[in-house]
Structure formats: C-alpha cells, structure tokens
C-alpha cells in the first residue's frame, strides 16, 4: 500500500498539470481582455451612453471573474506545493547525529522562518537540552521536518492565544527539552498556546485534519510527523494538552533501529 507521502506526492503531481492550465489561461485572458478594451475603446466611444455603460459593466465583471479564477488557482497551487514539500525527499538517509544540535538548528530555522513571514511575530524560546544526550542514529532530514512541524504548530497556537482574549500578562512561550533515556532519547515540545479541545484529541494525527482556517494549513504536518516518528524510526509521539493553557508533544526515539519502545509513553 502506498505510504501517505507517496499518495500525496502522486495526487499533487496529477493536480499540478490541469492547475497550470487554469492559472495560465486565466492570466492570458486578463491580458487579452485589456488588449480588447484598448482596441475597442475608439469604437465604443461612438456608441450611446447606455450601451457604453453596459459594455463597461460586462467587461468589468469579466475582468473581475478572470482575476478571481487566477487568484483561486494560485491558492490551489500553494496547497499543492505545500503537499509536495511535506512528502518530498523521504531519502530516509540515516546517520549518527548530535540530537541537541539538530533540535537547536530546527528551532532557529523555525523561528526565523516565522519572523520572515510575519515581522510582528514574537515568542520566548526556552531550551532545556540535556548535555548528556549521546549521538543517536536517525534520519536527520525527516526528524528535522517533524521538529519544524511541531515548532510551527506551537508558534501558531501561542500567537493565536496572544491575539485572543487580551490577557495582559500573557507571554507566548515555546519550551523544548531533550533527555537521554539510555535506550532512547526523548524530546518534549511545549507551547503555552490555545491548547487542544478534548473532543478533537483523537483526530490530531489524521491526514488532512486541521483546525486552521481554509488555506492556512493542509492538515498533513502531524500525520506525516507521526509516520516519520513511528514507522520510520520505531518511536512514539504523544500529546498532552489543556484546552486554553498548553500543549506538549513528547517524542521518543529508540537508539537501536529495530527496537520497540517498552511500556506506554506518557
């Protein structure tokens, strides 16, 4: 059975083609309409006022419609690109890495990325990285993607809370900690954002499930992260949350490639 990554990549590729035509022809049509207006203007000027007004109105609506088609086409394009990025390059190349360095790098990337997208974005980052964490073999590209997903979600939740009920003393904060458990390593990512409503807890890792408004999220981040952690690395990913207060994701990655974690993760 195709993995989620292969499925989304396949669908995205198939949709890209007709979407290109939608965008291209919409753009071309807007240009052609402008040309038509220019060419026809001298002739239209000779018509009576009512007819001129009607022509103007129709041309205006046509232009508006085409611009809308182009706009939604671009939106769909963005979704497709996002889907492809999420499922891209599952090279699965494994090597020994310094986990703390990987976490730190991903955190910086996520933070600066968020700032680049929104200059007003701000959050307090708290790192509690256990110096005793020994190098561990994993797929760094994929694990980084998991971190980026979780950091991004944390930023989103904290920012949402900051913009919400105007709690005077609220400071959006993201805490990241690592811990060596001997036969495994543990990474905790905790935000003090809006938290997760209990009724949707079970759906979190489902593909395409999202609480973000249309156009803001594909709903693939957590499901792909889940696949990467559990299927690719034999680890576990769990979540704890209090609605309105915090959310904490705990990832456990075993050291040996074929080990399974013993006992239930918190």
């Amino acid at each position: 059975m195709a993995s989620l990554g292969q499925l989304t990549a396949g669908i995205a590729h198939e949709i890209k083609n007709p979407l290109n035509f939608v965008n291209n022809f919409a753009g071309l049509s807007v240009e052609l309409l402008d040309e038509l207006k220019e060419t026809a203007d001298p002739g239209i000027a000779t018509l009576d006022e009512d007819t001129r007004a009607e022509i103007g109105e129709i041309v205006g609506m046509l232009t508006g419609n085409l611009e809308k088609i182009a706009e939604h086409g671009k939106r769909a394009d963005g979704i497709v690109k996002s889907m492809l990025e999420h499922s891209r390059g599952a090279s699965g190349e494994r090597r020994e890495v310094d986990l703390n360095a990987l976490v730190d790098e991903a955190l910086n990337l996520a933070y600066h990325g968020a700032r680049a997208q929104d200059a007003s974005f701000n959050i307090t980052l708290e790192r509690d990285l256990d110096p005793a964490v020994a190098p561990i073999e994993l797929a760094p590209q994929e694990i980084t993607r998991v971190f980026l997903n979780l950091f991004g979600n944390g930023f989103y939740a904290a920012t949402k809370r900051a913009r919400g009920n105007g709690e005077a003393a609220y400071r959006p904060t993201l805490q990241v900690s690592t811990c060596d458990l001997g036969d495994a390593v543990e990474i905790r990512i905790r935000d003090n954002g809006t938290g997760i409503a209990p009724e949707i807890r079970d759906q979190l890792f489902q593909p395409f499930f999202t609480t973000k408004p249309t156009g803001e999220g594909t709903g693939l981040g957590l499901s792909i992260s889940y696949d990467i952690v559990t299927q690719q690395h034999g680890g576990t990913i769990t979540v704890e949350s209090e609605h309105g207060e915090f959310t904490e994701f705990t990832i456990r990655l075993p050291r040996s490639e074929h080990s399974t974690t013993t006992g239930r993760a918190a």
Binding site: H13, K16, N17, N20, F21, N23, N24, F25, L28, L32
Partner: protein
C-alpha cells in the same frame, strides 16, 4: 528577420498556450511558431525542413511512444548544433542530469516562466 521555434508536446492545450504567449512576437514577425504533438511528428517536420530558420526546439519529456529524452538523443545525433530545451513538469535531478548528458541546452520546469523562457531564447546564437 523571422526565425522559427518548434514546440513538441502531446498536450494540445500547451500548443494553444504557447500560441497565446507568443502572440505579439508572432504578429510582429520575430518568431514563427511550429507545433508537433509527438516525437515522431517533430522528426518528420525536421526532416522535411522548417522555414524560416529554426533556432530552437522546446520539448516536453513525458510523452507517449517517444519521450522527450529519446527525441533529444535522436535530434542531437542527426542535427547536433540545433539547440534543444526541455520543458517539463518533472524537475527532478535525475532527469535534469540525463537531459544535460544528452545535450539539452536548458531545462525548464512547468509552469513555464515565459519571461525567463523569452530571455533564454534571446540569448541563443541566431
């Protein structure tokens, strides 16, 4: 002075898109556009001779019967100095490298950036 461009793509809407995108250039005589919907058809046109002077072939990769890379190899064997640009939805490195090895002078991914394409065309030796 007019020169020709040959576009090879099995999707008929691609031809229409190129026609519209090059409408001004076609009207003022800069380029004459030719279209083939398969590698075989393209080779026929080339064998029979294209007028005015053909300066470049723009070819898709993913086509039934003869894919763009096979066409590229064939063209380079028979008309080695004719510039060929691959225009394709598949931007992966493997195809890019293969196209380069076979002699493609450019590798453009769809959706085509027509401003970029026209800039590249202007840079071709004519």
């Amino acid at each position: 002075m007019s020169v020709s461009i040959l576009v090879v793509d099995d999707e008929p809407d691609v031809a229409e898109m190129f026609r519209q995108r090059f409408r001004r250039e076609a009207r003022n005589g800069t380029y004459v556009m030719h279209f083939a919907s398969s590698g075989g058809e393209a080779l026929n046109l080339l064998t029979n001779g294209i007028e005015p002077t053909l300066i470049v072939i723009l070819s898709d990769i993913n086509m039934p019967e003869m894919d763009g890379l096979d066409l590229l190899a064939e063209i380079k064997q028979r008309w080695c100095d004719l510039p060929v640009m691959m225009v394709t939805a598949y931007g992966d490195d493997r195809r890019r490298c293969r196209a380069s090895e076979l002699g493609a002078c450019e590798f453009l991914t769809k959706p085509v950036d027509f401003d970029l394409l026209k800039a590249r065309l202007a840079q071709l030796p004519s």
